[in-house]
Amino acid sequence: MAKVAMMIDKTDHVATCIAPLRRGETVELMLSGRKRKKIKAKQSIPFAHKICVKAMKKGDQCLKYGLSIGSATKEIKVGDYIHVHNIESNRGRGDLENN
């Protein structure tokens, strides 16, 4: 049985991996209990971490729950592992000069 990643909203860029994925492994996307397309993980992804299901360009808003969880800091392709190395928060950034 193929491993599953859960999408929460159909507009989301990310899905949550219900099992850890190895690089190159195929995962089946689920949305509202229904199976969607299959994608291949480009890197290993730990349990419950995020995989990209829709490509983003640098600066794009990354959606989960149908809402922004931050901005892409680089180009992100379908199947990429998504975490702090390619998404950053838009909130509470006292470290940025323009705030």
Binding site: I8, A48, K50, Y65, L67, I69, H83, G92, R93, D95
Partner: protein
């Protein structure tokens, strides 16, 4: 092999509690030994250790705080004395702590109709002498408290606290969803729930504002989140690392927005009927109430207990030991790894959501546990005296 006792049919719309004079209902009937200042903490702890059926609440505050900060300490202590889980209260202070004396605290608590006595270590003849006096009064109070019986009351008498901690990416899709189902169920039956953690509303303000029954309440949510964010920006640092915390990120949460959108799943789908400041008693209006508290778990659930909640669902990704000394705190998780690692203090396992159990079924399991806990069943951390989560959030420096 010993045969297991047949389970007693569980009430669905009622629970068993201790009705109070002011209309509140306690899920516990403890004698609360409440410290007015840090220098009374050891005496309070000695008294509570001596007296079965008592709990002590101690803290490092009550002195050398600027006025608004001291008022918050005072209000929070009073609110805990008024919480329905305390059947009677002993308040002990050390010197006369201007603005936070045991007498003043006791005077306010007495308005709830419960028996309360104030003692002062200096005026009472010293630490040993006051320990003896408090113990003697406490014995009589506990004799009365333990002679009271639980009565069947409707779920409308329940104020359910909601908090999450050590969140990860399982939170928003498993235990917080199950908690949201419980919130909806309690409110459908005329009860109240209390959502908090202002830091974890950052990024979810619009969703929460849309739930408010009046636009003015939505504006209050925006205002309290903006203030929290302004305080963070004023520190000139990046919030990341503090929120999400290191363990949040290890659990897969990338940003505070992601953490927030998962956290607010605990609110379910009920409308927000009120937005209140830290540790202020929630009104009796049925529905979802929102309190302005920090993301710090102990400080947040202390505010919620001050709001009057008798039971709190602590919904956790990484597992937890958190427990409020007075408000029954049950810990649930949907993360199968944490179920194993934190089994010692885990009350409800909902990790089967990941193997196909519907949210409603898992939510019902948590709801049943809430009813049982409210009716007297003890949580694991309660049995273990894991009373680690009384912490008053501060507005100013020590001076």
């Amino acid at each position: 092999m010993a045969r297991r006792k047949k389970p007693v049919p569980r009430p669905i719309k009622t629970w068993f509690g201790f009705p109070r004079e002011n209309g509140d209902v306690g899920a516990r009937n403890y004698l609360l030994v409440l410290s007015g200042t840090l220098y009374a903490n050891p005496t309070c702890e000695r008294v509570a250790r001596t007296l079965r059926h008592s709990v002590s609440i101690t803290h490092p505050l009550g002195r050398c705080q600027i006025a608004p900060d001291l008022k918050r300490t005072f209000d929070t202590l009073v609110a805990h004395g008024q919480n329905a889980n305390a059947g009677a209260v002993l308040v002990i202070d050390h010197h006369r702590e201007e603005g936070c004396t045991a007498e003043e605290i006791a005077h306010e608590i007495a308005k709830s109709g419960k028996r309360v006595e104030a003692l002062n270590i200096r005026l009472g003849g010293g630490a040993i002498e006051v320990t003896a006096q408090a113990t003697r009064i406490g014995v009589e109070m506990i004799r009365e408290l333990t002679n009271e019986r639980r009565q069947e009351v409707p779920v409308s008498k329940l104020l359910l606290g909601l908090n999450c901690g050590t969140s990860d990416t399982t939170s928003g899709i498993s235990h917080n969803k199950a908690t949201g189902w419980v919130t909806d169920q309690v409110i459908k039956l005329g009860g109240r729930a209390l959502l908090a953690e202002t830091t974890e509303m950052m990024g979810g303000e619009d969703v929460l504002a849309d739930k408010c029954v009046r636009p003015a309440l939505g504006k209050r949510i925006w205002a309290m989140v903006n203030k929290m964010e302004a305080d963070i920006l004023a520190c000139g640092v990046d919030l990341r690392g503090s929120q999400p915390t290191g363990d949040n990120m290890e659990g897969g949460l990338t940003t505070i927005e992601e953490k927030s959108l998962g956290a607010i799943q605990k609110a379910g789908s009920a409308p927000i009927v009120d937005v209140i400041p830290y540790s202020v008693r929630a009104k009796r209006t049925p529905g979802l109430h929102v309190m302005d508290t920090p993301g710090h778990g102990g400080e947040s659930i202390t505010g919620i207990a001050g709001g009057g909640a008798q039971v709190l669902i602590f919904s956790t990704g990484g597992g937890h030991t958190i427990n409020h000394p007075l408000m029954s705190t049950l810990r649930i998780t949907g993360n199968p790894v944490s179920v194993e690692l934190q089994r010692d203090t885990l009350d409800v396992d909902v990790s089967d959501i990941f193997t196909g159990t519907p949210i409603e079924v898992a939510g019902r399991r948590v709801y049943n546990e809430v009813i049982d806990i409210a009716s007297g069943k003890m949580t694991k951390a309660e049995i273990l005296h894991e009373d680690n989560a009384f912490a008053i959030t501060r507005t100013g420096p020590s001076v």
